[in-house]
Symmetry: C2
DNA sequence: CTCCGATGTTCACGGTGTCCACATCTGCTA
DNA sequence: TAGCAGATGTGGACACCGTGAACATCGGAG
């Protein structure tokens, strides 16, 4: 127990979670993480090939946490569910800007296969599928609609975090976010068919 | 001319532009920028208090360049102009990812007053104003519409650069971007009034 | 009991931002 | 025209950072 830590990998991820919560990915440092765990810097290299890998593992841990908050939507109406999902995405970004930044700016090769499996994407897809079933969205416009929704909520979060909407208070940010979400949802139902 | 450079500040910004064009903000380094200009690292501190200030100046220079590309829109229809502006925004992000990252992720205090004057925002506002004049958008929904548009194009760019759409080829990215832009535009015209 | 692989340590290198004291040049003033 | 003051650039130093190589220690398999 003195020399061997037991589970250094997860301990380092935990430390990385603490560090990135305020400070974002830049605050995640091999040296600081190992320092917190009480271990020499190079010990990390037995479990992660480099700093980017530690950030990746941290991002994965964050996404799991996000999954739980995302799947709580017993709302029956597809439109309402869509809105809830989008609002939850924005809320997470504003509540945990550091973690949000880790998930989206941790240096990571874009692996489309894994992203498609992300819980947020699954929830979005399901809601859009219901919209198709309800006849409010053409089936062949579903994918485009998904990206449009994602783009809007993600971009809005970005505008609030690093962009021109950063100065606003949370209530106003929330109000404008709702308006933006309402806009896309209205737009995808109308324009889905004209995408070809 | 040997000892004094003449205009080190702009020379450093130029070097920073080169560096960030590929490599983004992370590639902008006091030491490398000064190295390229042929000057000692500390010379930079006579013109910029720190690295962040150099990045800020670089971001300002990039935005000026973006302004030119943005204001070329002799398109008469407000809807068409809106689409053009959004497409130009996304195109710039995809054509110059490094510079785009500098503008939006250079560590910078959010100064809302200056952002409102950004040329891209002005073009967007003008197009939306025309939409109001044409009766396609309630006047009190104009601001919300602006943020919704901006959020969508910005988020879409992000999805293409660092997100799940990164793997797609340019043509496909462009097609989906057009679909997303079409969606918001359709959405703002419909939902603008219900924002209150 | 012995040995081997997993894990952690130590030392070292090159890179970075930035502070401090010093050198040099330029322009204004007397 | 002489000289001084401020602007500008230099050199050295410090504290960080990521990371590679060699070494030490432990725990379990034979």
């Amino acid at each position: 127990m003195a020399y061997h830590h037991g589970d250094l990998a997860t301990a380092l991820v935990d430390a990385s979670l603490e560090l990135s919560r305020d400070g974002g990915p830049a605050a995640v440092t091999i040296r600081e993480a190992t320092r917190r765990v009480g271990v020499s810097p190079n010990a990390a290299y037995r479990h992660f090939p480099n700093r980017a890998a530690l950030l990746d593992a941290t991002a994965a841990a964050i996404q799991q946490g996000l999954a739980a908050a995302m799947t709580e939507d017993p709302d029956p109406s597809p439109i309402a569910r869509l809105h809830r999902i989008g609002a939850a995405y924005v809320a997470f970004a504003l509540d945990e800007p550091g973690w949000f930044a880790v998930v989206f700016f941790g240096i990571r090769p874009p692996d489309p296969a894994r992203v498609e499996l992300a819980p947020a994407f699954l929830a979005l897809s399901a809601a859009l599928e219901d919209l198709v079933a309800a006849g409010a969205l053409p089936a062949d416009g579903r994918d485009d609609a998904a990206w449009a929704c994602w783009a809007t909520v993600h971009g809005f979060a970005e505008l609030c975090l690093r962009g021109p909407l950063a100065g606003l208070d949370r209530a106003e940010q929330r109000r404008r976010g709702d308006a933006a979400i309402r806009a896309v949802i209205a737009g995808i139902a109308r324009t889905g068919g004209s995408a070809a």
